[in-house]
């Protein structure tokens, strides 16, 4: 007969000793085990699903903000380049006017 060993705390061992008959019944109750494992798996999956949903919502919000910022930055770049060109021309003109005045 094979053997498998499992470690528990002293307190847990005391409870296991007291409930030995109940546990022996549990070992034979494969239906109960199936139900429990299905329930635990469902709870774990539910937690995982909720974490994913939260993460997705956060990332969607951040992504939208980034898309908006990228659009604004692109528009601003065009504006800034246009003003730079205009201001460069205006300053050149003003410098000439000042030269002429001297």
């Amino acid at each position: 007969m094979g053997e498998v060993e499992i470690r528990v705390t002293r307190e847990e061992l005391r409870v296991i000793k007291d409930k030995k008959r109940e546990i022996e019944k549990r070992f034979r109750d494969i239906g109960g085990l199936k139900r429990t494992l299905a329930y635990l798996k469902y709870s774990l999956l539910l937690e995982h699903r909720n974490r994913l949903k939260t993460r997705l919502e956060e990332l969607e919000k951040k992504h939208l903000e980034l898309v908006e910022f990228e659009e604004k930055a692109r528009r601003d770049k065009e504006i800034l380049m246009k003003i730079r060109r205009e201001l460069s021309e205006e300053n050149a003109k003003l410098r000439k006017m000042l030269e002429a005045k001297k």
Binding site: L37, F69, L94
Partner: protein, 137 residues
């Protein structure tokens, strides 16, 4: 199969003699539901069973939903990095433009003063310059 339960004390133990077919069935279920055997044994020994009833279809539905969410997350993360990279460099260009424009504006004001010309109100441009000068690298 002999299931030996021990605590830290070497001499204290509880032994369960589980028929091999029952033990095999337990192992099969552990694998099917994705639990380790030690986790399942602790459920049997310590936690006990629950009354909740979850159907296989419900589990499958939830797994499908998780797959869909993971796929969406993966797609969005894939878009995120290149967009962040692109936006960063546009904002950096704007910062350089803002630095240049700040100097050009100062020169413009000085030249206008020297020529006795009225100063032009460029409040919006100044705000834009200020915005991009503060862009955090």
């Amino acid at each position: 199969m002999k299931v030996v339960v021990r605590s830290d004390s070497k001499w204290k133990k509880v032994v369960f003699n589980v028929p091999d077919d029952v033990f095999n069935e337990i192992e099969k279920n552990a694998e099917e539901y994705g639990f380790r055997m030690d986790e399942v044994l602790k459920i049997i020994l310590i936690d006990g069973y629950v009354e909740g009833d979850v159907k296989k279809e419900e589990l499958k539905e939830l797994e499908e939903e998780i797959k869909t969410l993971e796929k969406l997350l993966y797609q969005l993360e894939g878009k995120w990095s290149p967009l962040k990279f692109k936006t960063y460099y546009i904002a950096l260009d704007n910062q350089n433009l803002a630095i240049q424009l700040s100097g050009m504006l100062a020169e413009n004001k000085r030249l206008r003063k020297q020529l006795g010309l009225p100063l032009v109100n460029r409040k919006e441009l100044e705000e834009l310059i200020h915005y991009y000068m503060g862009f955090n690298k």
